[in-house]
């Protein structure tokens, strides 16, 4: 049994460049691992032929000295990114047979970089969820404890990286869907600034909050991946034109003199002692590296969850209207009339959490409620953004926990949507403000991983990766992995 899949992304790059192993061997090792860990249910679709074809091409190019650095390196995409000719389900029965005639821009860029796609990763249906239990393809299991959730919605991406099924996975984050599963699986997740990564071909949940990003095993690996997917795309009107800096070059900057803000609301009585202990060790590492800690206020942060659960469902209710059984996706059998076609196609095609959010969002946008809900939520959103901008006049980035606790058992919160929504309590605010945020391993509580979160000003992804990388130079947590892997 090959163990090439346990190498980090950088080790894989170096091995290919040195000719220690071929891309074909590397991809085979990952495909074997995927096969061995089918119980995780991390993948909805595995594409071995495509992956091996791409690996063979990479090997030929490398033999001729024409390969890109990442040629043949495996990657897997969250099944929310459209892939030309390959099923894109969004974790929904609605799209159980949907094959897009185009690639998402993120997929196009990965192809151009020479990466070989292993397959499509499981997720909460249409990215709605925090446990990956809302998938029509079954829940994803946490590699650290198969009876626990991996977090969500990018649960497949996080589980696949944690279990060494891929060195790099794309993911999306609307309210915490990259960072929360990264924290619960002991992996590193980066949600870039809104607009940094093109949303073209990324099936929309809440367009003003959705952002594509990555899950990997270290900050340095994330820096390599982000350079591939970041950048302006004229096909996405909300895509930023800001130049993409060299994330790798920034990794080694010293942290001396860096001011790190600790939002008081993130460290109040609601934080468990165990989590406080984990965060304290992170803070100690940063202090040892020369960074200064200051307390900052984010006065409106407690309104983030309610504002998010108005805005996101409102946009979702509109974004998901196109799934009507008319042109693509699930269509009910033998509709009696138009209304029957709509109600049964949508009733059968969508799962209960998606329906719940469509209903909430429809309500929030309805005549007579718009002002009280949607408009008010947008006002709160502006205030939260101002809170962050104000905080960043005092500090260079913010530090906090990623989640309230460790991964919970499968089924523990499925009957209590509000408890589930509170999983995102530390993550949604950055989405509302459009800021970049990353989650990085902070050790374990009761044997299960937790993460620390870094939040930076708009387009300061380099700063997050730099700080996390420096911490990872002096701490061992990101090397932790489930036993037997």
């Amino acid at each position: 049994m090959s163990t090439l899949n346990s190498l980090s992304l950088i080790e894989q790059i170096n091995g290919l460049a040195a000719g220690t192993f071929s891309a074909t061997e590397l991809v085979k090792a990952h495909l074997d691992a995927i096969d061995r860990h089918r119980a995780l249910n991390a993948f909805i679709t595995v594409t071995p032929e495509l992956a091996l074809d791409a690996a063979a091409r990479a090997d030929q190019l490398r033999a001729r000295g024409e390969a890109t650095e990442l040629a043949g390196i495996p990657i897997a995409h969250k099944d929310l990114f459209c892939t030309e000719g390959v099923l894109t389900t969004c974790g929904s029965r609605m799209l159980s047979r949907f094959v897009a005639p185009y690639d998402a821009e993120v997929v196009t860029r990965c192809k151009a970089a020479g990466l070989s796609m292993l397959g499509k990763l499981n997720l909460d249906e249409f990215a709605m969820g925090s446990s990956n239990e809302n998938s029509a393809y079954g829940p994803v299991r946490n590699p650290w404890d198969l009876d626990r959730v991996p977090g969500g919605s990018s649960g497949g991406s996080a589980a696949a990286v944690a279990a060494r099924l891929t060195p790099l996975a794309t993911a999306t984050d609307t309210g915490g869907s990259i960072r929360q599963p990264a924290a619960l699986t002991g992996t590193c997740g980066l949600k870039p600034t809104y607009g940094r990564v093109s949303r073209w071909g990324m099936v929309a949940y809440a367009s003003s909050l959705d952002q594509g990003g990555l899950i990997a095993r270290s900050a340095a690996d994330l820096a390599i991946g982000l350079a591939v997917i970041a950048g302006h795309d004229p096909k996405d009107s909300t895509s930023a034109r800001d130049l993409v800096p060299s994330y790798r070059d920034a990794l080694d900057s010293p942290l001396k003199g860096l001011r790190i803000g600790l939002p008081t609301a993130f460290f109040d009585h609601r934080m468990s002692d165990a989590m406080r202990t984990r965060l304290t060790t992170v803070i100690q590492a940063l202090t040892d590296l020369g960074a200064a800690m200051i307390e900052v206020e984010l006065p409106h942060i407690d309104h983030a969850i309610p504002a998010y659960y108005v805005i996101a469902p409102a946009e979702a209710s509109s974004n998901l209207s196109r799934f009507d059984g008319v042109r693509f996706g699930h269509r009910a059998a033998d509709p009696k009339d138009l209304n029957d076609l709509y109600t049964r196609s949508r009733g059968e095609g969508f799962g209960s959490e998606v329906k719940r959010r469509i209903l909430m969002g429809t309500y929030a946008l309805s005549e007579g409620y718009y002002e009280a809900y949607y408009k008010k939520a947008q006002q709160i959103r502006r205030l939260i953004k101002m809170d962050f901008l104000q905080a960043f006049t005092q500090c260079d980035l913010l530090l906090g926990p990623t989640t309230p606790g460790v991964a919970f058992p499968i089924g523990a919160k499925t009957q209590d949507p509000v408890a589930m929504y509170l999983e995102d309590i530390y993550t949604v605010a950055t989405n509302l403000a459009g800021l970049p945020g990353g989650s990085f391993p902070a050790g374990r509580i009761d044997g299960l991983p937790v993460g620390f979160q870094l939040m930076a000003p708009h387009f300061a992804e380099s700063r997050i990766l730099n700080v996390a990388h420096q911490v990872q130079q002096v701490t061992p947590w990101h090397h932790d992995h489930p036993e037997g892997l």
Partner: protein, 485 residues
């Protein structure tokens, strides 16, 4: 009781952009169903809209043409409703921040009075597709070629007081969009469609009655008939002690009546909210100035100039300028021939009536401005009289050659030789002694009437070629010469 009508129009104009407002698909009319619908127009999962700059230029030009304030900050909203020909389940439109704010146009009433009609706003939006209900035996076909075509919706204030005023307003809008070249305004093909809001109130009162909206009326004639039939229906209702209910109605031209489509209670709650896929559009002064620089001379300005430069009446000028191509045609003839009034008479009489009979576009008309100019030159230099000119025009219609060639071929040169005319007159007088005697016996005031007989006879003898003025003069002189002799 006597009532007056209060009418406002919502005019949808398809903009003549080469591609759609948010996708690169072509907008040509008449393609095979669904062949001009891209992934964006189909609303496939993951696609995103990118605004077409040409649509903004056209909208700004319209705004400038009606003296409106341009919305330098405009934004797109989603209008949510389910219908099979609305692919995304929402229409992208402008609700809160339209690109064109209040402006006005001037209509000419039947009595020649001018009236100013306020335009509330004009906003950009995308068109829906078409549902085809009668072709598939109990099923409905959906053609999405039209989906995503750029529309400018022009909303008037309720300033119109009769169906005739409404048509006059609609014709002015039609004229302006055609002058600007921003739409072909073809109502039969749906490039310009009209919704009419109609209410009535007792003459002398100022409050507005309950209005009904007549949807999608597709010709000038039907607009007039639909409004008149709706006014009559509302008057009958009120006179019978009934009430008008606010509702949407459809006009059935075959039965010349409107019928209810849906009432206010059944109306959609469109759940408008800002489209998160599109950033607000900020137009700078440079963009607006560039649009202004390309504005052509508009009908009102042309009218003033035609009266001044070509000596035509106000009424004639308003008829001539209504259509840009006809106005261009007239102006070419008037300018080259130096005979404004003659040119106006020929264009408004002969040319327009031929056009109406043959359905020709004036650019395809067999008699082009150069030929008509030649004809008018030959009338002015007295080579032709009105009768022979008609004959030459018919020759031109049949493409028999140039004006001079037709004159030569048919021997139509006007006789202006006084001696020849005198000889003709003498011959006619000699062969009608009785009529001559009667003329000479008649009282002065009766003579002009009797002169017609001799004019006719002499003209006939000249085969229509005698110069009429000379002929008249010679006849009168000859009849008086021997008077009382």
């Amino acid at each position: 009781m006597r009532y007056e009508a209060v009418i406002g129009l919502e005019v949808h104009v398809q903009l003549a952009t080469a591609s759609k407002i948010f996708s690169g698909a072509s907008t040509t009319f008449g393609a095979e169903p669904n062949r001009q619908a891209s992934a964006i127009d189909l609303g496939l999962p993951g696609v995103l809209p990118v605004p077409n700059q040409a649509a903004f230029e056209m909208a700004v030009k319209f705004g400038l043409a009606i003296g409106a304030e341009i919305g330098t900050y405009s934004a797109f909203d989603r209008k949510n409703y389910f219908y099979p020909d609305l692919p995304k389940g929402y229409q992208i439109s402008q609700f809160d921040a339209p690109i064109v704010k209040q402006g006005q146009v001037t209509i000419v009433l039947e009595d020649g009075q001018e009236k100013s009609i306020r335009v509330t706003r004009a906003h950009l939006e995308e068109d829906a597709g078409k549902s085809i209900h009668d072709a598939y035996d109990g099923m409905t076909g959906v053609d999405l070629n039209r989906a995503g075509t750029a529309l400018l919706e022009i909303v008037s204030e309720p300033d119109l007081r009769s169906a005739k005023e409404a048509v006059a307003y609609l014709k002015i809008i039609h004229s302006i969009i055609r002058y600007l070249g921003i739409s072909d305004g073809n109502m039969a093909e749906g490039s310009m469609r009209c919704d009419c809001n109609v209410s009535i109130r007792p003459v002398g009162t100022n409050t507005l009655g309950t209005r009904t909206e007549i949807k999608n009326v597709n010709s000038f004639r039907f607009v007039e008939r639909a409004i008149n039939s709706e006014i009559a229906r509302q008057i009958d209702l009120l006179d019978d002690g009934g009430r008008v209910t606010q509702e949407t109605r459809l006009y059935d031209p075959d039965r010349d009546e409107t019928r209810s489509m849906r009432s206010k209670e059944e109306a959609n709650d469109y759940r408008y909210f800002p489209d998160p896929d599109l950033l607000p559009v900020v137009l700078d002064a440079g963009f607006i100035d560039a649009c202004r620089a390309t504005l052509p001379e508009l009908p009102d300005a042309r009218k003033v100039r035609y009266v001044r430069d070509y000596g035509v009446t106000e009424y004639d000028a308003s008829v001539l300028v209504a259509d840009r191509e006809i106005a261009d045609y007239f102006e070419a003839v008037a300018k080259e021939s130096g005979q404004g009034k003659l040119a106006a008479n020929w264009v408004m009489g002969t040319v327009l009536s031929e056009l109406n009979q043959t359905d020709h576009a004036i650019t395809q008309f067999p008699v082009q401005p150069a030929a008509l100019t030649q004809l008018i030159v030959r009338i002015a230099d007295q080579t032709l009289n009105s009768k022979t000119a008609k004959t030459v025009f018919e020759g031109l219609m049949r493409q028999e050659g140039s004006v001079d060639a037709i004159i030569a071929a048919r021997g139509l040169v006007q006789v202006t030789d006084r001696g020849a005319i005198e000889a003709l007159v003498e011959r006619v007088l000699a062969s009608h002694p009785e009529q001559v005697a009667n003329y000479r016996a008649a009282a002065d005031e009766k003579r002009p009437k009797m002169l017609g007989f001799f004019v006719g006879q002499t003209m006939k003898a000249s085969q229509g070629k005698a110069n009429p003025q000379q002929l008249n003069a010679v006849l009168i002189a000859k009849l008086q010469e021997d008077d009382g002799a």
